[in-house]
C-alpha cells in the first residue's frame, strides 16, 4: 500500500505531563499501538509522533504509556503506545491496562487499533490480531520484518494476508523509518470507514477459543503463502554462547561491568567539568553581574549563586550520566541483548520474585541510583518496576563512597579498606533482605511464574532509534526531576540563611545559628539511641538528603575548617569528627560511626533519586519508599550502635 497524503509530526500538547497524563481531548481520534514485547512497537511510535511525544504513567496506575500527536490526512490524532502484550488475556497490570484501553465496550475505545505484527513470527503475532478482530474495532496490521522473512528464504504476500484476515495490512520498517506514510493513509481510510463486523469465535472456553484463533491464523497463512525457513540462524549461534550455562553468566557480568564502568568512569570527568563550570565561571559571572547591580555581598547574591546556580548546576551534572545510561539501555534493548540477560539472570532474581532483567538496575545502582531507577523500565510489569524502584536506593552509590572513605580513614585507619568493603557487602544484604521482606508482605500477591520469554533476533542498533529513545527519556527526566532538585537545593539554602535569635542576619549567619542548625538541634535527640545525636552530625544528614557529595563540604563548613584535599587524609576535620562522635555516643565513637555509616547507606540517597522515583512510580509510592528507607536506616543504626556499644 502506498500513500500520497501529507504526513506531519506535531508535538504533544503541554497538558500531557510526563509523569501522569491527562485524558485525551474529546473528539480527537485515538490510535492505539499494540504488539508483543520487542515487536518494534515503540520504535514505530517514535517514528509516527517524533520528538514531541511523552511517556508517563497512565492516570491512576504506575503503568507507562507513550502518548503523542500525529497528523493523518489533515486530521490530528492521538497515538497511544500501549504496554507490550502477547494477547488480551491479561496476566499483569500492564496487560490489564492494554486490554481495558482497547475494550470495545470500554469508556473510550480507540478509533483504530494498529497491531505491530512481526512477519518472522506471524503465527504468534497474529494471535493478538485474532482477538481484536473478535471485537467491533477497526484493526490495521503494521507488518514488520518482511525483509527478514525474504532474507531467510521465506515467502509472504501481504495483500493476500489482508484479504484473509479482513483488515488492512501495511508493510513497515520502523527501524529504517519506512512505512509511516502508508500507515497514515491506511489509518485515514479506516477513520472514514464504518467499524467492521467482528469475527465470530465458536470456542466454548479459553483453550477452545484459542484453538479457533490458531485455526483462523493457519488458514490466513496458507492464503498468504506464508512460509519461513526455520533452520538455525546467526542469532541461534550467538545464543549458544550468550545464554549458555556459565558462559552466558560470564558474558552478562562482562556487559554489566562495561555498563557500570561507562556510566561512572566516562561520565565522571564530564560531571566534574560541568560542576567546575557552574561553581567557577557561572557563579563568578553571577556574582559579578549582581555586584554590578549593587547587590554584591547581599543575600540576593547568596540566593542566586549558592541556591539557584548551585541547584541548576547540580541538575545539569546529571545530564552526562543520564545520557550515557539511557543510550546504553537503548543499545542493549535495540540489539536484543536485554532479553538474553533476562534469561541468564532469571534463576538468581527469582529468589526475590523478580525476573532476570531486575539485575541491571540493581547493578547500575552501585554507580548512581538515579539512572538505575530509570533503568527499571526494562522490567515487563508495573509491580516489578515498583519493587525494584524501592530497592534501588539500598544499593550503595558511588557518592556515598567518599563519606565511607573519610570516616573509615578517620576512625579505622588500619582497616579502612575492610570497612568500605563491608559497606558494599551490607548494601547487598540490605537489598536482598528488604526485597524478601517486601516480597513476603506487600508483594505476596505478585505471581512468580516460570520464565517464558520470546527472544527477538539480534540486530545491529541504529543511531536513530538510540538517539530518539535517549532524548525522550532524558527530556522526561529533566522535566520531572529538574524542578524537585532545584527547589530542594534552594529550600536548604533558605533554611541555612535564616538566623534564629539575634545572631547574624538573613544570608549572613553561621550554620549553628540558622533555622537549619536549629532544626538539626531539635532532631538530634532522635538519633541518641543510634549514638550520633549531635547536631553537627545530624545536620549533614539534611545535606546528604540533597546530595551525598555535599556531606564532607557541609562538615567542613559546620566546623569552619578547610575541606580535606583527600578523603584518606581527613586533617583537622577528622579531629572535629572524632570529638563530635565521641561526645554524642558517650565514648563509644567506633560503634556510633558504624551506626552512622549504616544509616548513611540505608537512608534516602539524594533528592534526585526521589525525583526519579516520583517520575517512575508516582508521589505516593515515593513517599512510602522514603518512609521505608528512613525506618530501615534508623532501626539498623540503633541496632548496630547498641550491639557495638556492648562490644567496645
Amino acid at each position: 500500500m502506498t500513500s500520497t497524503s501529507p504526513l506531519r509530526k506535531t508535538t504533544a500538547p503541554a497538558c500531557h505531563g510526563p509523569a501522569e497524563q491527562a485524558p485525551a481531548d474529546a473528539g480527537t481520534p485515538r490510535i492505539a499501538l499494540l504488539g508483543s514485547p520487542n515487536s518494534g512497537k515503540s520504535t514505530l511510535f517514535n517514528l509516527l509522533t517524533g520528538a514531541g511525544s511523552t511517556v508517563g504513567n497512565w492516570p491512576g496506575t504506575t503503568v507507562a504509556v507513550g502518548r503523542g500527536r500525529w497528523q493523518v490526512g489533515g486530521t490530528d490524532v492521538e497515538v497511544l503506545d500501549l504496554p507490550g502484550a502477547y494477547s488480551l488475556q491479561a496476566r499483569s497490570p500492564d496487560e490489564e491496562l492494554t486490554r481495558d484501553l482497547v475494550a470495545a465496550d470500554g469508556a473510550a475505545p480507540p478509533s483504530v487499533c494498529v497491531v505491530v505484527t512481526d512477519a518472522a513470527h506471524l503465527t504468534r503475532s497474529l494471535y493478538l490480531v485474532a482477538q481484536l478482530r473478535e471485537q467491533p474495532l477497526r484493526v490495521i496490521v503494521a507488518l514488520t520484518m518482511v525483509d527478514v522473512v525474504r532474507r531467510r528464504g521465506g515467502r509472504l504476500d501481504p495483500a493476500a494476508l489482508a484479504v484473509a484476515i479482513d483488515c488492512p495490512v501495511v508493510v513497515t520498517d520502523p527501524r529504517a523509518r519506512q512505512g509511516a506514510a502508508a500507515l497514515a493513509a491506511a489509518v485515514s481510510t479506516a477513520l472514514d470507514s464504518a467499524v467492521p463486523q467482528p469475527r465470530i469465535n465458536r470456542g466454548a472456553d479459553d483453550l477452545s477459543r484459542a484453538d479457533d484463533r490458531f485455526t483462523w491464523i493457519q488458514s490466513a497463512l496458507v492464503a498468504a503463502d506464508g512460509t519461513l525457513d526455520d533452520s538455525p540462524t546467526l542469532s541461534d549461534r550467538i545464543d549458544r554462547v550468550l545464554t549458555a550455562p556459565f558462559l552466558g553468566m560470564g558474558a552478562f557480568l562482562a556487559v554489566m561491568w562495561l555498563v557500570f564502568q561507562i556510566t561512572t568512569k566516562v561520565a565522571a570527568p564530564l560531571q566534574g567539568a560541568l560542576d567546575a563550570f557552574f561553581s567557577g565561571p557561572v557563579s563568578r559571572g553571577g556574582s559579578w553581574l549582581l555586584g554590578a547591580l549593587g547587590l554584591g555581598g547581599t543575600w540576593v547574591e547568596s540566593l542566586v549563586v549558592d541556591g539557584l546556580i548551585a541547584g541548576v548546576g547540580m541538575l545539569l551534572t546529571f545530564v552526562p550520566l543520564m545520557t550515557i545510561m539511557f543510550a546504553l539501555l537503548a543499545v542493549l534493548e535495540d540489539s536484543g541483548y536485554l532479553a538474553r540477560a533476562a534469561v541468564v539472570t532469571d534463576r538468581l532474581m527469582r529468589r526475590l520474585g523478580l525476573p532476570g532483567q531486575a539485575f541491571l538496575p540493581l547493578v547500575v545502582g552501585f554507580g548512581c541510583n538515579v539512572p538505575a531507577i530509570a533503568a527499571t523500565r526494562i522490567l515487563p510489569h508495573a509491580r516489578q518496576r515498583l519493587l525494584v524502584t524501592l530497592l534501588v536506593p539500598f544499593t550503595s552509590c558511588s557518592a556515598r563512597l567518599t563519606v565511607y572513605l573519610l570516616l573509615a580513614a578517620t576512625f579505622f585507619p588500619a582497616h579502612a579498606g575492610t570497612v568500605v568493603f563491608a559497606m558494599y557487602l551490607a548494601s547487598l544484604v540490605l537489598v536482598v533482605g528488604v526485597g524478601m521482606l517486601l516480597r513476603r508482605t506487600l508483594w505476596r500477591a505478585m505471581p512468580n511464574e516460570p520464565l517464558v520469554l520470546a527472544l527477538p533476533p539480534y540486530q545491529r542498533p541504529t543511531w536513530w532509534v538510540t538517539s530518539t529513545v535517549t532524548w525522550r527519556r532524558l527530556r522526561g527526566f529533566l522535566q520531572t526531576a529538574g524542578g524537585i532538585i532545584v527547589a530542594t537545593v534552594i529550600v536548604v539554602w533558605v533554611l541555612q540563611a535564616i538566623p534564629v535569635g539575634a545572631t547574624g542576619s538573613f544570608g549572613h549567619v553561621a550554620p549553628r545559628d540558622s533555622v537549619y542548625g536549629a532544626v538539626a538541634q531539635g532532631l538530634a535527640p532522635l538519633f541518641d539511641p543510634a549514638g550520633f545525636g549531635g547536631w553537627e552530625i545530624v545536620s549533614t544528614l539534611f545535606v546528604g538528603f540533597v546530595a551525598k557529595e555535599a556531606v564532607i563540604s557541609s562538615w567542613a563548613q559546620t566546623y569552619a575548617v578547610a575541606q580535606p584535599t583527600s578523603v584518606s587524609d581527613p586533617g583537622s576535620l577528622g579531629h572535629h569528627l572524632i570529638d563530635s562522635f565521641t561526645a554524642a555516643s558517650g565514648g563509644h565513637a567506633a560503634a556510633a560511626v558504624a551506626a552512622f555509616l549504616v544509616f548513611l547507606l540505608a537512608y534516602t540517597p539524594c533528592v534526585a533519586t526521589l525525583a526519579a522515583q516520583k517520575r517512575e512510580v508516582g508521589l505516593r509510592w515515593t513517599l512510602a519508599g522514603l518512609v521505608l528507607q528512613l525506618g530501615v536506616a534508623w532501626v539498623l543504626a540503633v541496632v548496630v550502635f547498641q550491639i557495638g556499644r556492648l562490644l567496645t
Binding site: 518472522a120 513470527h121 519461513l228 545464543d239 545464554t243 549458555a244 541468564v344 516460570p450
Partner: protein, 83 residues
Amino acid sequence: MTASASTPSPAAWLADLPCGTQVCVDSVIGTTQGRLHELGLRPGVVVRILHKTHGGGRLLAFDGSRIAVSAAGAREIRGAPVQ
C-alpha cells in the same frame, strides 16, 4: 508447524530430553499453560530443543519463534520425540 509423520515414542518432559531433539507437544500444564498457548506452543506443535540456558532452562524453536523457558517451565511441557 504441526506433526505429520512422527515415530511413536514415549512422551517425556522437555527438561528430560536432550538438546537437538524435535518434540511433538503432547500437553502443557501448570501456570505457563496460558502464556505458552498464546505464543503458539500447544498440543500438536513440533518444537526443537535448541540448547540449555544458564539456570537449567531450554531455548525452543518453533514456527520461526525462539522461546526461552526456565527449568521449571521446561518441566511443564510434555511431548514425544519425533524424527
